[in-house]
Homo-oligomer: 295 residues x 2
Amino acid sequence: VSADEPGADWFHEEYKGVSRLGLKLRRHLHSERSDFQNIDVYETEFFGRVLTLDGLIMFTERDEFVYHEMLVHVPLLSQPAPREVLIIGGGDCGCAREVLKHPSVERVVQCDIDERVTRVCEEYFEWTARVARDPRCELLFADGIEYVGEHENRFDLVIVDSTDPIGPAVGLFHRDFYAKVRRALRPGGVVSAQSESPHWDPPLVGRIRAELSSVFPKTSAYLGHIPTYPSGTWSWSYASVDRAHDDEFDEERAAKLEATTAYYNRELQTASFALPNFVREALEGKNRFARFGPQ
Amino acid sequence: VSADEPGADWFHEEYKGVSRLGLKLRRHLHSERSDFQNIDVYETEFFGRVLTLDGLIMFTERDEFVYHEMLVHVPLLSQPAPREVLIIGGGDCGCAREVLKHPSVERVVQCDIDERVTRVCEEYFEWTARVARDPRCELLFADGIEYVGEHENRFDLVIVDSTDPIGPAVGLFHRDFYAKVRRALRPGGVVSAQSESPHWDPPLVGRIRAELSSVFPKTSAYLGHIPTYPSGTWSWSYASVDRAHDDEFDEERAAKLEATTAYYNRELQTASFALPNFVREALEGKNRFARFGPQ
């Protein structure tokens, strides 16, 4: 996980010592250790600028649109007129940028524990981070679990834009947190959460589903293609007490949004929930790849 | 593209010098130069055994099922009772293995230019290559373009299971070849072809579409998740004179097949054709990523 290896003008993100993704570097633009994590920004040949936290890729200019569009638009298009949105994590402001494309939204709260992530992004990813200047956007730098616990019947959508379930984000994958999210949602409210790779880690995908569905009666998962996340196959969770992702889909609203997106469109609102067999199995706690390597 | 770098117990596949995928190795099992290409087999920690041709990953035990199931089952399920199938390339026998799951198929011809690929796979991937002993399976080691040109009104499905459009496979991406395929198809016949990554190379995806649609009135594309192919996002083409992928879909037949697959299922027969905006654009010859690195 180092750009400092001998002869390396490459950044490598290693996955459990068995797989790695390499990005050819132009320059190492920024490096610091915040109170919570290492924050680095690289300039690359192919991916534009890249943000890493503790050596893991969070955001590349080339493919971040997939992650942010899918985490945001799928749950927002499942509701007729969402007004208040809470983002847990999301310090890079990518989710807030997408949320504010929805005219019904009056307020988006972005609650990330690490202010330095946002400040670094204001410097190196200004084209996204400038959304924070929108008067509808409120930035908080605080513990997301505590914040969500202070609210009841408040948000139409809670977005869990977390890092992996190690380090600071581990609590964001637990049913105690999801129970707080449930209380913070209005009737008809929805939670969407990044839910890791079913190709590389089926057991983790299964555990996330088990935690979420112990709290939310309606829980489903959807998939997208993110080349710079491990395996390139990424899953998100959609969960609600009383709403399914295609209950009240507004074709006309989605068509308007589609003119502003690089990934999301109307067809994907349903098609991204069509899961390959091995993903369905992972969600049921089965691991078709158990015979391969470490899990 | 080497497992022989200093200190490297890693295999790296590099993409145009700007991105690379690394696989942790256990052993280098086989290496030879055939009349056509370098053939290597590795044993890895996480991916099982891996076949490479000229240093590019063709087949890993962990994720090959995605590629083969999608290239084969989507076009076969679009036809009521396909009987004769031609595979161009496919020397690893992965496509033939999937084709022979279809009870209506009486004969599958696998025409790969390089006999050594099949012989190596018989040794290291016997669990797939043993399909060649099925009496319905005919192996030819010959030029696929010439072979297809010798046939008229013969096949229900032609599968183009090629390497990338460099070296021996370059002719398999040209309209002259597609015109021969068209003549070799029966009425209602279909061609399916691997069609590269819309994330990494939109212009190439656009050129393949242009060549195919200059010959076939009905041309569409579908997507799947293959972690060990460049970007992890892979596309296939579906083309026909007179048939669309969902014209005569037989739910019951697909349900039976689904019990044997790790990726393909009924929902994906339509959902995999739902394309993100940037993929639709690529098929129209537009490149959203033109500002990034070399193309």
